[in-house]
Symmetry: C2
Subunit: 211 residues, 2 copies
């Protein structure tokens, strides 16, 4: 599919056809694109834990369920996903990479970093998975795991404690579901988010070439 | 361009033809794709500050220059970029969004969040810009601004203090430049980063459908 069409057709799909598994080649394609996301210093401090078997997906949902709450409709939809991909970042790989001679930071201090690029790069990789799902005719959703459930998830899947669970991608063949209430917010257009030359200036006329 | 080709052709371009400006429609296209990145709760807490005029780009480089250091070859290359796009996140928008009734967190405590999705979503938007550059036949690079220079950058462009500068995208028509030393690390392949059913398992055979 054309890149622009992939971008325009992407939306969070929150309910899936439970009778249709994600073909293995789609998962491979999604991960092959994920590892081509950019990463600071080419650190590539990411891991992807793929859950396709029922027992594994149920173990994820069991680890993250809130025993006091009935799952809401949003969550009920996600439970139908035939594939979950846990996207994990590895901060240590980044800190060590930037202490190498060609980068030259002489310590592992996080304060050198303008942002947590390990989480951001892993998020970019997750976006590659979301876009690949659209390109392959499937749907996907990116969602977070509540912080107080991370320890149970890590225990359930033997995830090393130095990793961080940035988010989960659910994937499958889309089924109709109610629109997210969030969409009522509307798209923030370029007239709001784009600034030219100074934060207060929304006039793109300053884009006139100047050489 | 086909989505897969865009992904495969993307690389960090660190030197640009200074004689060729980025067409205004390419910038518009890049930002139009950026605002279609996913965002938690559709918060869209991002802003993009576009610098195309020489005086504005020079103001960015002046604010971030280290007076004690000669710029290295990496930075000398980036100085040729005819366009810079500062990618800013807005944490407050996210905290307030999730205190709305349909989300139901009753306070603005950052501890509810599994990760800083404001920075991650802004990073995803930056990836959309990088990919659009490839789709349009240009090159781009995503890089960080050293934390100790942020205050000068914010002052130079009247950026509100509640924003955070997640990173900068440089864009232009690619010129040859030496390969980044980082590439010697090689791509971390699926045999390393993909795990199936448990972190210790790298065998995709567990992908066999199970219903």
């Amino acid at each position: 599919m054309e890149f622009t069409d992939v971008v325009r057709n992407r939306r969070m799909v929150r309910r899936y056809d439970p009778a249709r598994a994600v073909p293995a080649e789609v998962i491979t394609s999604a991960l092959s694109n994920a590892i081509r996301a950019p990463s600071a210093g080419f650190s590539q401090g990411w891991d992807f834990l793929v859950l396709t078997m029922t027992q594994h997906r149920e173990a994820y949902w069991a680890a993250t369920a809130d025993p006091d709450d009935e799952p809401d409709s949003w969550l009920m939809g996600l439970l139908t996903a035939p594939t979950l991909i846990l996207c994990l970042s590895d901060e240590g790989t980044y800190l060590r990479r930037y202490a190498e001679p060609d980068k030259g930071w002489t310590d592992l201090d996080e304060a050198h970093w303008p942002a947590r690029y390990w989480d951001i790069d892993t998020g970019m990789a997750a976006l590659m998975i979301l876009l690949t799902a659209v390109d392959e005719g499937l749907g996907a959703c990116f969602f977070g795991t509540p912080p107080d459930k991370h320890a149970d998830v890590f225990a359930a899947f033997d995830i090393p404690r130095d990793r961080k669970l940035v988010g989960v991608v659910s994937m499958g063949y889309a089924m109709p579901h109610p629109k997210s209430a969030s969409l009522r917010r509307g798209l923030r257009g370029l007239d709001q988010v784009a600034h030219y030359g100074s934060f207060g200036r929304h006039n793109p006329e300053t884009l006139a070439p100047d050489r």
